[in-house]
């Protein structure tokens, strides 16, 4: 499919749909826009292109010194705009660098996601850190090593090719002389720029990369010392709270802040529809906020009940999405033996990172510094610069390793709020969203409606495949199976809720539909679901994970009963290959399903850290249980009806079965990202397992098990 991956990643609607637009002071406005006044007025969403300098315009620096620094003591600092959110790249990227530099792992310190210190970066999403930042840093580290060798050779007047490097030290084997990296650089910058492709160490020769090193700074996390964004302290720190509208698309009818303003040591800040309070203590800020008298007009809006009709009947004005056609589906349909036509749905779900959005903003003159949890520190920097009409050079965003994101923290609304309040207060201000705010004013994983029509011959040959996805997205939409006649299309639609990225994005919905449908076809022709998949599949990597999962699971060894079912599903996206096998137990009395056992096989090229990878893949499986069995955002008339963990159920200990992760290490293949795709196999495997036990096919996520 001729769809540019980057284009897909950048079509992130959460970035376009902002929570706040501050009132424009005319003088500032003219200063900002200059000749572009009309453009600015007409299209605030031009910000989606990051204020005119989109990612395609950003050249990554070629100077080694932008990425690697060696101090006099030989301590090495690596600079990257990627951020650590629990996916373990602070450790795995450092392993790759240590490998190329030939230094011990603990000689490396990673500076990540600080817009004043690190090279520009688009953001940490789309499983891109390992496949793109990995090679980038390896290239820089390899070049740095060559520079260090050449510098030592010059000093010794030796031939660089005769020198050896190990353990942060260059040695001349001829005379035994040696220098540490620190002695060579004496803290000076590595001034060379990279040209061409320096040689990188092949994975089969890795000694530090490829090993199960424990997480960097792990002790800080078990001792409570690690400072998350919400833990940031500053001198004279104040606390802010924001007045939220009574619903989405609400308009302000009346506002009376006089009672709040009369309270001691309270500052009320109003800027258009933005209203916030600042106090010395968060609980005082909350009291002041509740003293504000406000009336909102919330228009009638659709609810979950009308959702899928809405999605199918409200195409996005931007036009059709990517499509893929081959052969003739219509022609093939006429000649096929068995036809199946079905639709599948996924609901809006929330990321619900355990650390909600948080930011501390501090103004020093016209320079703004913000500590905040975000997957896009540079995007948030640009957002702040735009909101406050200051150059990006006057904004610094610092991202302390945060309490996770799962694609849910791409935006800067909380940073913007803290900065607006701090500007008014003249002191640093911290804003931490409540759980209810996070469930309501963040954005959601898109809901989606997927239709599939297919044809198969009695011998199990797939002949036609038509797949339409409404709203949830094109990621993972193409079938990995061999089908001569295909018509595959993503249909962008209007969305009643603010929606955006989520771990795996639409690959989850598209895999649920495709892998459930494959099961339906296998059942329709009486073929084993694994055998049917393998018959129509030549991709050796997907075959390998399906077979590995099946083997570890003991696929086909037991027959399903009304109480016990077995399901399999697999897929690939972003260079990751996954297969899930699930055993479910149906309880006809309680009308509940219990997951008894999961085997997940995973392959994403050469493994950089097997322990971190195993942790990621297992976590993706656990997170997937929620979307499969119980997570749904309930909404009506612009309000979220279940914005609490008591009403929005996420997977807990009691939902988590034995999970066996089988890793396939392909040292001959480049390392791909592993944060996302591990999530896609579980839900269809569960649905298929429930079908094998009960004969009932559940095509709506979360699955209404109680209705069986």
């Amino acid at each position: 499919m001729p769809v540019d991956e980057l284009t897909l990643e950048l079509a992130q609607p959460e970035i376009r749909d902002r929570l706040h637009w501050f009132q424009l002071d005319r003088r500032d406005f003219l200063k900002l826009c200059g000749g572009g006044l009309l453009v600015c007025l007409a299209s605030p969403s031009a910000s989606a292109q990051e204020s005119g300098h989109g990612p395609r315009d950003h050249e990554l620096p070629r100077e080694v010194s932008a990425w690697v620094h060696v101090d006099e003591a030989g301590k090495i600092t690596i600079f990257t705009g990627k951020v650590e959110v629990g996916q373990n790249i602070r450790t795995s990227l450092a392993q790759l660098v240590a490998e190329e530099l030939r230094v011990p792992f603990n000689a490396i310190t990673m500076v990540m996601g600080d817009t004043d210190l690190t090279p520009w970066d688009m953001g940490t999403f789309g499983s891109r850190s390992t496949p793109t930042m990995g090679p980038q840093l390896r290239t820089m580290a390899s070049t740095a090593r060559q520079m260090l060798v050449e510098a030592a050779a010059q000093r010794w007047k030796a031939d660089p090719s005769t020198l050896t490097v190990a353990d942060g030290r260059v040695t001349n084997p001829n005379d035994g002389q040696s220098l540490t990296y620190g002695e060579i650089t004496r803290g000076e910058k590595l001034t060379q720029t990279v040209s061409g492709d320096p040689p990188l160490t092949t994975a089969s020769d890795w000694k530090i990369a490829g090993t199960a090193l424990p997480k960097a700074d792990a002790r800080d996390f078990v001792s409570g010392r690690h400072q998350y964004p919400s833990d940031t302290m500053r001198p004279n720190l104040m606390f802010g709270k924001i007045l939220r509208p009574a619903g989405f698309n609400a308009t302000l009818v009346s506002l009376d802040t006089s009672a709040a303003e009369k309270m001691p040591a309270i500052r009320v800040v109003r800027d258009g529809d933005f209203v916030g309070v600042v106090a010395e203590d968060p609980s005082i800020a909350e009291v002041a906020l509740s003293a504000i008298q406000v009336k909102w007009n919330v228009p009638a809006q659709i609810s979950n009940k009308e959702l899928f009709d809405y999605l199918r009947n409200n195409p996005d004005s931007a036009g059709a999405g990517p499509q893929h056609n081959s052969g003739s589906v219509a022609h093939a349909m006429a000649a096929a033996d068995v036809k199946v036509e079905q639709h599948y749905t996924v609901q809006y779900i929330a990321h619900a990172p355990l650390e909600p959005r948080a930011a501390v903003a501090e103004w020093n003159g016209d320079k703004l510094t913000v500590w905040t949890g975000t997957q896009r520190p540079f995007g948030v920097r640009d957002e702040l610069a735009e909101m406050f009409r200051i150059p990006v050079t006057k904004v610094r965003v610092i991202m302390p390793d945060m309490g996770s994101g799962y694609g849910g923290k791409h935006t800067g609304e909380c940073a913007v709020e803290a900065a607006r309040l701090a500007k008014a207060a003249g002191k640093p201000v911290k804003v931490v969203w409540t759980r209810e705010e996070e469930f309501t004013w963040a954005y959601f994983r898109p809901a989606g409606w997927v239709e599939i029509r297919s044809d198969v011959l009695h011998d199990g040959t797939l002949v036609a495949w038509e797949h339409h996805n409404y709203n949830s997205g094109p990621s993972g939409i193409n079938t990995p199976y061999n089908v001569a006649n295909q018509a595959i299309q993503f249909h962008p639609t209007k969305s009643p809720l603010r929606q955006g990225s989520y771990r795996g994005l639409a690959a989850t919905a598209n895999h649920i539909a495709r892998e459930s449908h494959m099961d339906e076809l296998a059942n329709a022709i009486g073929m084993d679901p694994l055998e049917f998949r393998l018959k129509n599949l030549s991709d050796p990597r997907l075959r390998a994970v399906l077979q590995a999962a099946a083997e570890r699971f003991g696929w086909g060894r037991s027959k399903s009963t009304p109480d016990l079912g077995f399901g399999i599903a697999g897929g690939t996206e972003k260079g990751g290959y996954v297969a899930s096998c699930v055993e479910v137990e149906m309880n006809s009395t309680t009308k509940k399903v219990r997951l008894r056992r999961i085997v997940e096989a995973w392959e994403s090229g050469a493994i950089v850290n097997p322990d971190g990878l195993r942790n990621q893949v297992m976590g993706a499986v656990v997170q997937a249980i929620g979307g499969a069995l119980f997570e749904t955002i309930q909404f009506k008339d612009g309000r979220i009806l279940n914005p609490h963990f008591a009403l929005y159920r996420v997977p807990r200990f009691s939902d988590t079965p034995e999970i066996d992760v089988v890793l396939i290490d392909r040292k001959d293949l480049p390392s791909a990202g592993a944060g996302k795709t591990g999530i896609v196999g579980l839900a269809p495997a569960v649905s298929n397992a429930i079908f094998s036990a009960t004969g009932t096919r559940l095509r709506e996520m979360p699955m209404a098990v109680a209705a069986i």
Binding site: F221, V222, P353, L354, G403, Y406, Q623, A646, R652
Partner: protein
């Protein structure tokens, strides 16, 4: 506003707050003990768990006025003489976290669990820990860490007895 004296991790701390203010807020914003986390403010996620006289307690639902005279233990108080507690060590050994935001609450809940059940069964672990959410989904590793901590504590008791 009232003055309170809180005994946290063996030391006395003074705090000035309204009696309705939560222990979580006082710990984090006045005593700067930020290892205790806000996750939901409703006692649903366990990120704010501390020990009050040894019992696992949600500090986000605990009014500061109600805990005067008690012994409060937070994640910062588990180490002794620079050594991690057995539960902390076990979480480290099992790499039982990803983003780590739930970890303080998990470790304190697990500490209380092992006090009640030194050799917990799988069922006891699930029942005791089910109020603690890990959105990264590391539950199987946390369960393994709790079992490892039980072994470490058993070994500690045996070593102590043989001395």
């Amino acid at each position: 506003m009232d003055d309170f004296v809180l005994k946290v991790n063996g030391a006395e701390h003074r705090a000035r707050a309204s009696g309705n203010e939560t222990l979580l807020s006082v710990l984090r914003n006045q005593l700067h003990l930020t290892g205790t986390k806000y996750g939901c403010g409703e006692g649903q996620c366990g990120a704010c768990t501390v020990l009050i006289d040894g019992a696992a307690t949600r500090s986000c639902l605990t009014r500061v006025a109600s805990v005067q005279g008690t012994q409060i233990t937070t994640i910062e108080g588990l180490e002794s003489n620079g050594a991690l507690s057995s539960v902390q060590q076990a979480f480290l050994d099992e790499d039982a976290f990803q983003c780590g935001y739930c970890t303080s609450g998990m470790i304190l809940s697990a500490t209380a669990l092992l006090r009640e059940h030194p050799h917990p069964t799988d069922r006891q672990i699930v029942e005791y820990m089910d109020g603690n959410i890990c959105r990264c989904g590391t539950y199987p590793r946390i369960t393994a860490a709790i079992k490892r901590a039980a072994q470490l504590q058993e070994k500690g008791r045996a070593d102590h007895a043989s001395r």
